[in-house]
Symmetry: C2
Subunit: 337 residues, 2 copies
């Protein structure tokens, strides 16, 4: 399967991105990679001894910066690694797209070039959290800063398909993030979303409090993108804070240098469970193509894992399943209206 990777996107581009791509083809011979970006810089990032038969470069002269306005990228940077990459899915030259570039720009360019899946009102970001048995996906993690109840209903449907296609969870259980489990809790958006989800989603488990997210009761947790983005970033900051604080406290303890160093290494190893590299990218759900967005600071390992997720997304036809599922829910709603 041919997957296009934006070699210029992310804080460690192109070196870590290229390395991640090389690692992916080395691990899985069914994968071919097209790297979009500055050919010279990409070539400089490929060690001479490497077998590059499964990797090709598509040269582009522009790079999307984090400061570029997402809505202007198509017009102002048509020959960027990001736009050229997404165009390759549209034209069928590649099956999936992976980038650690600007989320806003990827979203805008995907919407413009690929469009939404039929029936989908708003695309959404699903972020995977390790927890309980299978982990859980939180959606929307920030594609939209305002949302309506029918959007949240669709986020639930799309994120469920992600959990079943990419994480292998059968009939994922869905929760609505809220400040209490009672149906009467929350603001208007959440009250109305609850009613809608209760009516149309057979595996809806009701409200879930963020305090109990990691108890393994739900596989999908739905919220608006403003809350979701804040939560995902909070999780990242909080884990970094815990890591730093616990390490500092260890240093201050009355123990031998050798023992401290042992503890440090055990603790750091355990904390790797919470690093986004392990999970490799989040799907942009609802656009008409397989687009995987990686964290801006992604190292090679995260890129490699994102490429594997992109492959799984394409080969299991995640987009088609979302289309079918959204379409049957739309029929149900119209039937009952």
């Amino acid at each position: 399967m041919r997957i296009v990777v934006d070699a210029m996107g992310g804080d460690h581009a192109p070196s870590e991105v290229v390395q991640g791509a090389l690692d992916a083809v080395a691990d899985d011979s069914a994968i071919e990679i097209i790297l979009t970006g500055d050919e010279e810089k990409i070539n400089d990032s490929i060690p001479p001894s490497i077998n590059r038969s499964s990797v090709t470069i598509h040269h582009t002269s522009q790079t999307v910066e984090m400061t570029d306005r997402p809505s202007q990228v198509i017009k102002q940077k048509p020959n960027s690694s990001l736009v050229a990459g997404i165009e390759m899915i549209k034209s069928g030259k590649a099956r999936a797209f992976v980038s650690a570039g600007s989320t806003g720009a990827i979203l805008a360019a995907s919407l413009f070039l690929l469009g939404r899946i039929e029936g989908v009102k708003r695309p959404a970001l699903g972020v995977f959290f390790p927890s309980g048995n299978n982990g859980l996906v939180l959606c929307d993690a920030g594609a939209n800063s305002e949302a309506k109840p029918e959007h949240l209903l669709q986020f639930a449907i799309m994120a469920s398909e992600y959990m079943s296609h990419i994480q292998g969870v059968d009939e994922p259980k869905i929760g609505l993030l809220n400040i209490g489990v009672e149906e009467t809790k929350g603001n208007d958006l959440y009250l109305e979303s609850h009613a809608l989800m209760k009516e149309y989603l057979p595996t809806f488990e009701g409200n879930v409090e963020s305090r109990y997210l990691f108890e393994g009761k739900v596989d999908v947790v739905v919220c608006d993108g403003f809350l979701g983005n804040n939560l995902v970033k909070f999780a990242e900051g909080w884990i970094r804070h815990v890591h730093r604080d616990v390490s500092a406290q260890l240093e201050g303890q009355d123990e031998s240098a050798e023992k401290k160093s042992e503890f440090r290494s055990i603790f750091s190893k355990a904390m790797r469970h919470f690093e986004y590299e392990e999970y490799g990218g989040v799907p942009l759900l609802g656009v008409n193509g397989d687009v995987i967005i990686c964290h801006g600071s992604s190292p090679a390992r995260a890129i490699k894992n994102a490429i594997f997720a992109a492959k799984k997304s394409a080969e299991t036809n995640l987009v088609g399943s979302i289309r079918d599922d959204i379409s049957s829910t739309v029929s149900l709603i119209e039937g009952s209206a």
Copy 2:
């Protein structure tokens, strides 16, 4: 100073609440405690050998349950430990009130009996997080599930007074929680709040992303109560998840039983930094009296610390400072209108 404590509020009432009160008077001879609640049960919780000269009991026959509707508590449970306690601040029999009972009920009863501080539109909850140098307060942590920009402006003012009175921070720096630092980020509520805070708060530092909350850049972080409540609960669930997961990973490591046990004890000690007991209660900001709300699962240590916070709040006249500060901001806004 006389402080009234709701002996029946919380998961571990009355035993842990009573113990916390006894510990507080033992540590600080300037404190007298009135315990409201079932006299017999309270007496059973006081060890016979204890000097109880600084503790009196005010018997009440009713107890507010978590299932009671907050708006009905005043009418249906007038002789409850919670309502009787708040009435004692109103009548001047006590200077401050501490409870680990239902937040909604405390809020409703405080509003009904004490009212709001002049000029305050909505009371708010401030939750203290340890971080950086002085820690930070997040406000509103859940008193309101809907909010307007002028409410967020007032939350900032009230939480700043809390940081300066209770945590001893001079001219606290204020941040608005948002999904990006740029002024153009966020939904309508946050865009308008940003503009308002920029105009009227001299120590406003702009937007802050939840990812960077713990870097010590701001002392006060403002958000609506729906987001705040979700974040505070998420922090609690996330820390519990990290604790459990790291401990489980540790068990699986190839180390001696002795080393594992040593690490477990060091790690657990370090994680105490993140336990709410250490910080003892959150102030209900904006009501016309000193009301401190404790976590429902508060052990004696948390109750004791909450009593100390209540004393500080009353003796430094936090309510008066909030009144002055809100009043001068209201004049400024009216002057420029």
